[in-house]
């Protein structure tokens, strides 16, 4: 069975020479929820960009059986990216337009687009805000809206870059519930171990551009030595066993 | 600096709207073919930047209590190139009119030309001449300074010309022109200083922005440039000859000065039926409404009736609307 994401020996350096990713090899199966954890500057965001084909490096990145080098249009339909700042993702005058942007670019006709938008907005609980402009939404709503803009394209994989950033506890809980209810494969970069523990079943630890450990979330994140040696901590959920 | 509707006559407004629309339309068409669509969000966001930039103020020298702020047309032309900058500034002017009511709807044509098209192209042209492709520090700053002063001056000069062609204002052309030139020289200097300072900052932090990396390669064909120059020369010549022919304050001024010749024919006859009808209307109205030159009181009473009638109508509309709203509220609260 094809993996959702297959990365083989992928390396990338910025234009000024600094290495961002070193020989990354990672394999993620369909249906998994992966937390990509690591200290600041480890390369998590860069890796997510590589998965969506935004970066040209050495090595292969294969999404749902397609090589990103050369199949960009199909890859971008298969994998949806939620960027770190929802403001960057909500660039249309109304929420409806933003959520419709993806399906329209896929070439669907208006009635199909409207259907997809309605479904995606209902999924994230923002159906009532469809005709509102993005700056009318609260921080939590903007985050949910950003996810809706990706959901409407019916991707198989969704990557999220620090989705829990600057959310208050209530909104964070809503986000956790939303993500755990999704059926897609998820790759979530986050700096919050508690959030990772709440959402993910698999954890991949990154440091200095490398993937240093991959495995079941509970196993990886309860390893105190591993966590602290990479500038992280054991989530509350896994302290004292369970 | 933003022109209001009331300074223009309809023919001048229509003319400038046509010129502005034609210019912007042409630029959009050419740019769309050549520019990568990567630039689209950049243009929009830099337009928003212009708004934000106009909020950042600083103390002016020797003028306590007043502060200056940046206009941004020339900076944008240097960073984006003249064509993209012209589109961006035009969009800024449109939004200023529609959302902030800065400048009238009919004056959009004038405002786009005076503050967008002219400063961007004139400024960029001068900047290019001074820097001549070499991006050494001093040349950039001198070029930017010169570009700002001249570009803003040319834009400012157009305002009294457009107002004079409309003949609405009572100010003599020369006074208006001198005031605008004087004020905008200072404005241009300040703009130049702040533009140079920003460019200096960018040279340190993001030199790639100053080195023309953001502008696309849009080539207007030589023929288009030539034709545009020809059209502009004709317009300028017509305008200047009008002014030079002893009517410094426009067509209507001359009507006003001859109240004893109600059949005075307009000097420039117009084939266009709408404009000649408007002209006829204006010739007929030598006893100007609202006041009686010939002693008839009828005009005074009609205007009185008009105003009282309108006030009553407004009161009725207001009352009806508030009653309706109260009923609506009652209905919704009772369900």
């Amino acid at each position: 069975m094809t993996k959702a994401i297959q990365i083989d020996n992928f390396s990338y350096s910025y234009p000024d020479g600094t290495t961002a990713l070193r020989e990354i090899t990672l394999s993620i199966e369909h249906g998994r929820r992966v937390a990509l954890i690591g200290p600041n500057g480890a390369g998590k965001s860069t890796l997510l960009l590589a998965m969506a084909g935004f970066i040209r490096g050495t090595g292969k990145v294969i999404i749902d059986g397609l090589d990103t080098a050369g199949n960009l249009k199909q890859v971008r339909s298969a994998i949806g990216c939620c960027l770190e700042n929802p403001e960057d993702q909500l660039f249309m005058p109304t929420l409806f337009d933003d959520v419709a942007f993806g399906p329209l670019n896929m070439g669907l006709d208006p009635s199909q687009v409207k259907e997809r938008v309605a479904l995606a907005l209902a999924r994230v609980g923002l159906a009532a805000m469809a005709q509102r402009p993005p700056h009318h939404l609260s921080a939590g709503q903007k985050r949910a809206a950003a996810i809706a803009t990706v959901l409407s394209m019916s991707p198989k994989i969704i990557t999220l870059d620090e989705p829990d950033g600057s959310l208050d506890p209530r909104n964070r809980n809503n986000l956790v519930n939303l993500l755990t209810a999704l059926s897609q494969t998820l790759v979530i970069a986050t700096c919050s171990m508690d959030f990772a523990a709440a959402v993910a079943d698999t954890a991949a630890v990154m440091d200095a551009g490398r993937v240093v450990a991959v495995g079941p979330a509970e196993q990886i994140m309860s390893d105190a030595k591993l966590m602290t040696s990479h500038g992280l901590e054991v989530p509350r959920k896994f302290i004292n066993g369970r | 600096m933003h022109m209001a509707n009331e300074l223009l006559s309809v023919p001048v407004a229509a003319g400038t709207l046509a010129v502005a629309a034609g210019g912007v339309g042409l630029i959009c068409r050419k740019v769309r073919q050549v520019i990568s669509s990567d630039k689209l969000p950049l243009m929009g966001i830099l337009g928003a930047f212009v708004f934000a930039a106009q909020m950042v103020n600083f103390q002016l020298p020797a003028m306590p209590g007043t502060s200056g702020h940046m206009v941004g047309a020339v900076l944008l032309a240097i960073v984006l190139g003249p064509h993209l900058a012209a589109v961006v500034i035009s969009s800024v002017v449109i939004v200023q009119c529609l959302i902030f009511q800065d400048g009238g709807l009919l004056a959009l044509g004038c405002n786009i030309i005076n503050m967008g098209l002219v400063p961007c192209y004139v400024g960029y042209f001068l900047y290019r001449i001074v820097t001549a492709g070499r991006s050494s520090g001093l040349r950039i700053y001198v070029g930017a300074m010169l570009a700002c002063v001249v570009a803003l001056e040319v834009g400012a000069i157009l305002v009294p010309i457009e107002a004079a062609l409309s003949g609405v204002l009572a100010v003599p052309f020369s006074t208006f022109l001198l005031t605008m030139v004087g004020v905008h020289f200072l404005v241009g200097l300040v703009e130049g200083l702040i533009t140079v300072a920003v460019l200096a900052y960018l040279q340190q932090v993001r030199p790639d922005l100053v080195l023309d990396a953001l502008s696309g390669r849009v080539r207007l064909s030589k023929k288009t440039v030539l034709w545009t120059l020809v059209v502009f020369t004709i317009i300028a010549a017509a305008g200047l000859s009008l002014l030079a022919s002893g009517m410094p304050d426009g067509l209507e001024w001359s009507y006003l000065e001859r109240p004893d010749q109600p059949d005075f024919k307009p000097i420039i006859s117009n084939e266009n039926p709408t404009i000649s009808a408007a002209d006829e209307l204006q010739t007929k109205y030598t006893p100007l409404p609202d006041y009686s030159v010939r002693g008839s009181k009828a005009a005074g009473w009609t205007s009185f009736a008009g105003i009282v009638g309108s006030a009553l109508t407004m009161a009725v509309i207001w009352t009806l609307a508030s009653l309706l709203r109260r009923r609506q509220l009652k209905c919704t609260t009772h369900t």
Binding site: - | A53, G104, L105, P172, P287, F304, I317
Partner: protein, 271 residues
């Protein structure tokens, strides 16, 4: 200096709230097609501007039109008038040049009263009056129409697509950038200790502007990434949402009747 900042901030806050608040309400006016409202506003403005220079009372009659639209649209008139006052300084200055430069004597008859004044003053009132009336019309248009609907209408009326896309992005990110500018200004105010002089003032302002510019460019790159990630390939696709309905025809006929009916009313006053 700080007074200037406070004033500017207050001004922008007023605009901030104003732009959105009323356009998202619902009323018969709000439900009219954007194109129809736009064209009617332009024609209205053109007719008012073309009125004779010294016809002042007729302007009050013309004001009934936008007044009705505003009231039916649920927009508070007091707010609108305050806003008009706020944007009037430049026009008022130019209007006041009338009495300065034109001292031709004139007698004004108004109902049972009559008094002496100059043509210059009449022109002044004329300009001020036209300003208020055309502003009322413009505000009536903008506060009863959502900006995106207005843009869609303009595109259908023939605006270049690039300009419409540009306006769309501009509108979307204006609030964000204005907020960023306010943050920066607040940070500067927090660090300001007394007067700093012109040169230092310019240098600080330039640094703020420069960093705002760089931030804008970076934001634009991220937005572009987001667009590409959702499959954007250069073709801007939108769903058509405008439709001219029966009520639009009613509105157009009412407006035409009002505008041109009043114009004919002016003619008898001219004899």
């Amino acid at each position: 200096m700080d007074a200037c900042i406070a004033f500017a901030q207050k001004a922008v806050k007023m605009h901030h709230a104003y732009i959105d608040k009323f356009a998202y309400q619902d009323s018969p006016i709000h439900r009219l097609d954007a194109r129809v409202k736009f064209i009617v506003t332009i024609v209205f403005t053109a007719v008012v501007i073309s009125l004779p220079r010294t016809s002042v009372s007729i302007l009050f009659c013309y004001a009934v039109g936008p007044f009705a639209v505003l009231v039916l649209g649920g927009v508070p008139i007091g707010f609108v008038l305050k806003h008009i006052l706020f944007v009037s300084p430049f026009v008022l200055v130019l209007a006041l040049t009338g009495p300065l430069y034109d001292k031709t004597a004139a007698t004004v008859a108004f109902g049972p009263w009559a008094w002496q004044t100059t043509v210059g003053w009449l022109c002044c009132w004329g300009i001020a009056g036209k300003f208020v009336v055309t502003m009322l019309a413009l505000i009536a248009l903008v506060s009863t129409t959502r900006f995106e609907d207005l843009l869609a209408g303009l595109q259908r009326l023939g605006f270049p697509k690039l300009l419409v896309i540009q306006l769309s992005f501009l509108y979307r990110y204006i609030f964000l950038l204005i907020d960023s500018a306010q943050h920066i200004l607040r940070a500067r105010a927090a660090r300001a200790v007394g007067r700093i002089g012109f040169r230092a003032g310019i240098r600080f302002a330039a640094a703020m502007l420069g960093s705002l510019l760089v931030r804008s460019v970076d934001t634009a790159e991220r937005v572009n990434t987001a667009m590409r990630a959702r499959g954007f390939d250069g073709n801007w696709r939108t769903i058509n949402r405008l439709a001219v309905r029966g009520r639009d025809y009613v509105f157009v006929s009412a407006a035409a009747g009002f505008i041109f009916g009043l114009y004919l009313f002016v003619r008898p006053m001219l004899r």
